[in-house]
């Protein structure tokens, strides 16, 4: 199954899990499975219309899905999907 990397800010919603093996054949399927299993993540990943929130970056391996086919991007068993929100901490 594809692996999904969960950022620190979402781990409160995934019971502390940083990596999930999640079924799905597209990026949208995989993220949908995460949201089904951990409903607290849904509103943070998806906007009301079902599209990705603009402030959440999603990568298939090392490539931004915005330059692939977005949520339609096909995912294979060995792939890793990285969820990445901006962080501001510094000072």
């Amino acid at each position: 199954m594809p692996t999904v990397k969960i950022p620190p800010v979402l781990r409160g919603q995934t019971g502390g899990e940083a990596e999930l093996a999640t079924p799905g054949s597209t990026v949208g399927d995989v993220l949908g499975s995460v949201a089904d299993t951990y409903p607290g993540t849904r509103s943070q990943l998806f906007a009301d219309g079902g599209e990705l929130n603009r402030y959440v970056n999603v990568y298939l391996n090392d490539e931004d899905v915005r330059v692939l086919d977005g949520l339609e991007t096909p995912v294979s068993e060995a792939d890793t999907v990285v969820i990445l929100p901006a962080m501001a901490g510094g000072l």
Partner: protein, 395 residues
């Protein structure tokens, strides 16, 4: 007509060779245009004040820009006077009829005891202090000289800025500016290694200055005891070569991005939370900008502060040192900076992950359709507080 094979003695018969004292008087009076026709490395070593540099091989292509009128008074020089004589001959063929060559070139000039402009080079103390840098062929004297002449601005003297400031100071960055309006507090000491217990209550910029000056007297520290805002940012960043973003809030990060793109300043940007860090280097128009990566900030519940969520001090230090490493590469012109790449560090797993960051053609700041900013709009910025609170902002 001259040919390259023609003996120099014959060429020089057609050239007006003048004494260096006369050349100096003409140039100082503003009566003649002085052109150095040597190669770039010779120019870099030393050249005459007031001279324009056009290597001999490029002279005919560029003379129209340097001296548009053929009647213009021109004095040429090179190392001695051979290349400049051939160059003068070529100019005369083009119709320039008031060209002279300085006899003896820059060698004769220096023998006469006249001044030249030459980089200072490393002092004996600096040669000793930076020997482990200059031993590296990639850095060498030239790279160290660039560091000593560079100006780097740190936004924040906190958990990222503290370790990067110390490393950059040790490395010999000539001018280190620090923007911070906070004072040292006891909770800072767990990670902000530039501050000390006896300086609790002191402005962070002053505490940073004390540590940096104790470490390396070569560094000129400039304190900006303020917060960056739309009114002061252009004035503050204009003088610096590289900006190091360690801000603790999104409005400052977006403001810094937009201002740095306007002034085309590279930004080494890092952020940290809990056990995780991110870093990338944004060089305007060469790679993506911060907005290409993050078009809009997350809502507050997706972006807790370190004050609320905690942060591992050592991880912050590692990210600050990675920033310093990026700065040194940018200044010295070596290696591969993190342009178009985002590096994630997971300190609990000790894992690095590298992601690609693409330029966004629709980026409102650096994209193809981004509006041109003219002089009158240069200092005007949108309301970042509103933008980061999720309120639409009209540009």
């Amino acid at each position: 007509m001259a040919t390259a094979a023609e003996p120099l003695e014959r060429v020089k018969e057609r050239i007006d060779l003048i004494a260096n004292g006369k050349a100096r008087a003409e140039v100082e009076a503003g009566d003649a245009k002085l052109i150095d026709v040597r190669e770039p490395h010779e120019w870099d070593e030393a050249h005459l004040e007031g001279a324009v540099h056009v290597p001999q091989g490029e002279l005919l292509d560029h003379i129209g820009e340097v001296a548009p009128h053929r009647a213009e008074r021109i004095v040429l020089y090179c190392r001695t006077d051979n290349r400049s004589s051939r160059a003068a001959d070529a100019l005369q063929d083009l119709g320039y009829d008031n060209v002279s060559v300085m006899r003896g070139g820059i060698v004769g000039w220096q023998e006469a005891g006249f001044p030249v402009i030459a980089p200072e080079g490393l002092s004996p103390e600096q040669r000793m202090r930076y020997s482990r840098h200059t031993l590296l062929p990639e850095v060498g004297d030239e790279g160290q000289d660039r560091l000593l002449n560079s100006k780097v601005l740190l936004i924040g003297a906190g958990r990222l800025g503290a370790p990067s400031a110390l490393s950059l100071a040790a490395a010999g960055v000539g001018t280190l500016g620090i923007v911070d309006d906070d004072v040292v507090d006891e909770t800072n000491l767990q990670r902000q290694v530039i501050h000390t217990t006896d300086r609790v209550g002191m402005p962070k910029t002053a505490s940073a200055r004390a540590s940096i000056e104790a470490l390396n007297p070569d560094v000129n520290v400039v304190e900006h005891r303020t917060r960056l805002d739309a009114d002061n940012i252009l004035d503050i960043i204009a003088d610096y070569d590289v900006l190091v973003d360690g801000a603790d809030n999104f409005p400052t990060r977006y403001l810094l991005n937009d201002a740095s793109v306007r002034l085309q300043k590279p930004v080494v940007s890092a952020s940290i939370l809990a056990f995780d860090g991110q870093i990338s280097t944004f060089v305007p128009y060469e790679g993506p900008c911060y907005r290409c990566l993050y078009p809009v900030p997350p809502p507050p519940e997706m972006a807790p502060s370190c004050g609320a969520a905690g942060v591992l001090g050592v991880m912050a230090g590692i990210m600050g040192l990675l920033q310093a490493n990026e700065v040194i590469k940018l200044v010295a012109g070596i290696g591969e900076p993190l342009i178009g790449r985002l590096l994630l560090y997971d300190s609990l797993g000790t894992r690095f992950t590298e992601l690609k960051v693409n330029r966004d053609p629709d980026c409102p700041i650096c994209g193809d359709a981004a509006p041109e900013i003219d002089e009158s709009e240069m200092g005007k910025f949108p309301d970042y507080e509103a933008f980061c609170a999720g309120t639409p902002v009209l540009r």
